[in-house]
Symmetry: C2
Subunit: 627 residues, 2 copies
Amino acid sequence: MDNPHLVVTCIVGDGEAETGPTATAWHGYKYIDPAESGAVLPIVHVNGFKISERTVYGCMDDKELICLFSGYGYQVRIVSDLERIDQDMAASMEWALAEISRIQNAARSGNPIVKPRWPVLILRTPKGWSGPKKLHGEFIEGSFRSHQVPLPEAKTSKEELQALQDWLRSYAHYELIATKGGEGVVEGAPSKELLSIVPDKRDKKLGCRKESYAAFKPIEVPEWTRLVVQKGSQASCMKVVGTLLRDTIKANPTTFRIFSPDELVSNKLDAVFDVTGRNLQWDVASRAQGGRVIEILSEHTCQGMLQGYTLTGRTALFPSYEAFLGIVHTMMVQYSKFTKMAHETGWRHDVGSVNYLETSTWTRQEHNGFSHQNPSFIGAVLNLKPALARVYLPPDANCFLSTVAHCLRAKNYVNLMVGSKQPTPVWLSPEEADMHCIAGASIWRFASVDEGVNPDVVLVGIGVEVTFEVIAAAALLRKLAPTLRVRVINVTDLMILGPHGSHPHALSNDDFDTLFTKDKDIIINYHGYPIEVKGLLFGRPGLKASNGRSDLDRVTIEGYREEGTTTSPFDMMLCNHTSRYHVAAAAIRAGAFFNPKVSTEAQAKSAYIMHMAAKDKEYIYAHGKGE
Amino acid sequence: MDNPHLVVTCIVGDGEAETGPTATAWHGYKYIDPAESGAVLPIVHVNGFKISERTVYGCMDDKELICLFSGYGYQVRIVSDLERIDQDMAASMEWALAEISRIQNAARSGNPIVKPRWPVLILRTPKGWSGPKKLHGEFIEGSFRSHQVPLPEAKTSKEELQALQDWLRSYAHYELIATKGGEGVVEGAPSKELLSIVPDKRDKKLGCRKESYAAFKPIEVPEWTRLVVQKGSQASCMKVVGTLLRDTIKANPTTFRIFSPDELVSNKLDAVFDVTGRNLQWDVASRAQGGRVIEILSEHTCQGMLQGYTLTGRTALFPSYEAFLGIVHTMMVQYSKFTKMAHETGWRHDVGSVNYLETSTWTRQEHNGFSHQNPSFIGAVLNLKPALARVYLPPDANCFLSTVAHCLRAKNYVNLMVGSKQPTPVWLSPEEADMHCIAGASIWRFASVDEGVNPDVVLVGIGVEVTFEVIAAAALLRKLAPTLRVRVINVTDLMILGPHGSHPHALSNDDFDTLFTKDKDIIINYHGYPIEVKGLLFGRPGLKASNGRSDLDRVTIEGYREEGTTTSPFDMMLCNHTSRYHVAAAAIRAGAFFNPKVSTEAQAKSAYIMHMAAKDKEYIYAHGKGE
């Protein structure tokens, strides 16, 4: 994409072709505008076997395969002349490249072909072709037995060693090696004839294409502070982020793209459509117009395109409903493994970060319900190497702007941003948001008693809606338990929590204590699964409760506990124990250990608070709505 | 499957059809033997739009769709006569059912059709058809705007309320309601005509089919103790489990199936092929022979088939390479959400458990390497509701037999079993294995000093290979630090670790202390990501270090840390810090706090041990093999 003069061939095995992600990826061409992008020439290698079973494509005859790929929208050419396979392949490649040129020339000369039929080659050769034919009376070539190690005993068996020698010698490698030196030829090195087909220019050599290792150019990220919203107002984080993305597209017309499973409008990021369109070439309304947005309802295809685009030097964003990014969990992990190894390889250069934006979270499922509640992608990123993993849960629109701008600029990470698309309070001014995001977490003095000085208890929100409940709990406590000294903290960068040294962002012990105190109870209201924060905090010193109590932790964590249905946002908080009532009741119980005035009434008041929670629940189920 | 007289229709939206899992699922029919199984009649509903973008199928014309589905192997019939859609659909359904009968009759009379072309209906109607046509001058019907709430302001806007009334009245519901009472008719109830089409027999009524809610019959699980191996020998857990599966298939010829992404032989479970075959109807070698095994290289299709088979009352197993079960992470979570809600629903009966068997784990990747190292599926199961989640890591072949037998018998769970396919030591006799699996964890006295009495340090293995390293560490310590008193524990049921009450299997505080001691350091060697065990242990009382040290935890946990390549098994242990050397060095450091004899030499000895680790690493990289 956006490399109009590049043609890439790609060999797809018939085993791999059975996977779902590959089966729908064939439709990907419907999103490629031949005027602005290059081409991929797929070569489907049908050898008939997987590890030990026949393949689906291997059981399909030519008619079936031609029919299937014609239906996908391709021109199919079968390459299967085993007697003259090199000639067959060469002729087929020439035909395919000519077809690609024809499609591209038409589009680039202003006469684009409607629904252009891109070429695909189907190569039928026996599995393990040109390897050992038979071993111990059983077929190797043309059978699944050639999938793994065809001659496993070559080290000890004379028969197998001979078969190995015959096999390797059959490639006539000796013909390719210079047997004596001469002008420009070194004895034992590749022959003159062989060297003559190596391109002169370094970047034309196979494997030396700059696109594959050194293409990264940072994009120009617009100044986010121009787009901020008023502190004290209400704003949808996504609406505001949409304006930043709109300006990013304007500033980077050929180096930034958005891939989404048709959720851009639903996720309220549609400001981007002020300056660009959707790149669906099969649709009469959008064909031949380019477009920075690809919306296909395949998270796998989105992820695949995102990876390819990022690894060839550009920058991309993948916005998604929170519940559905888990679909590409293993693809993301594989990508992170690739980048880890790439960073350990001297000649590989930087790449942009892979950027995920999760919204439409479990907290707001009044339309979709239980099936759309799954914050597990956070855990997937937490398991990556610390050098790569970044997880942000910005608490308001200004923090979100700052975070997105940072992530689009940052290199080499897997950035996950989680937040809300509904209007929510803007807690921080742009300057405060900037400071807060730099720190990763801070005491929110405006929500704390006495600006958070000398607290009896520390309340922590991590995530938009659960932080809202923490602040509501603090307000409730001001009325119900005015002597309780409450400190309110928001964590926007999840990675600050782990023990010092476990992650580049992890707070030092002193910084941690300064924020969270040395001895007071910490009540954490977390957006994700509680086990994640438990795992992060494990090993932090000083988390045991003091004050004569048993050696239980002084930290309690609530979060999504797989409870939910199609219900009101506040009911979601109630059933997952993240409501203001749950936070307030826990705060009173915890504060009672340090504050004798709170202590005398703690039991009664926390019981009263949970009574209010029960009443609210009743109201919601009776009226079908409600706080 | 195995319900030969059942025909199920299934409506697939054109949005959903874009997803990878659906795109390959169309090949599923190639694995259905019409002699033994019923049929699904898919109805692809092409209405052209997703939430806000056109669909891929919606942009394809009839020729393209017919071509694609013919390629998939179907007979296609387009249903699109909007003027007479009911008649068109009725005629099409009759045709489809007749085609299904033709295919089934042929197969059941001994003359099976080669590559039978099952019917598919493609229904083309406008999106939001028969809903409001237009609103505020914009099209609703035939546009993406009908996807969500087409009349969002009907509560407050007169115009929208009127549109809502017109819409609902257009269905002429009043014609279906009895306006006055009479013989067998109640006023206001459905009319006589309407009631006359309701089937008399309860289980013929739509939604009352027993297959969908009350079909579960436990399978007959063979006695695993007949298949055990000799304590002290070496055995591949999977080879042994294969014999149990073989006998399970024999005992349950129509109610047990195995779904696998072509990994049964590679995972050494091939004993099942002594009694059954692979059910691939497109392959001339296996067609028309049934077969209890379906091997398609689509984890999504395996999971979909597994869910359908289990939810209709039967029992199934999904063996997989460990790294690739994460591909179906979100499908498994959706399934668990369904079963949670089903259990909260009075009329739903039990279903079998969903059984996963993970092998070919990260610990043994001398052929495949880094890309095949991903134990994250454990974490996916840990996040489920405790009532459902079960994770087992049986340490040897006898324990594995006991565990598989238990899981195949158990109802309503998501069972995950993780283990090795390579030959490994059989540590326990059948009786000991039985006791160990019932307990979930126990002290392995044979590997402990003085049978584990009064230890200085507790070493814990969770998983086959990491437990092997723990036992090797204990042996090493016997030589190097003979005065150190070591207790060795294996945990086979991961769920025992959480705080009491967090899971039905979680140990009580007393039981936990009895096993793991009240005060000694616990060195855990874990198969998965360490954060999981940290999260589980968080909140357990009594885990802080005593003996005058800082209040750090007395637990240290090592596990897979995303380090690896195509290397020797022992190098995998070294680079993930789970080797015997790492365990032994940690044990000496920890034991030094309690044992003054160990203390005086602790620093020197642990340094010496890590020196041995470095030497081993050098050897492995110099010789390409090792330990």
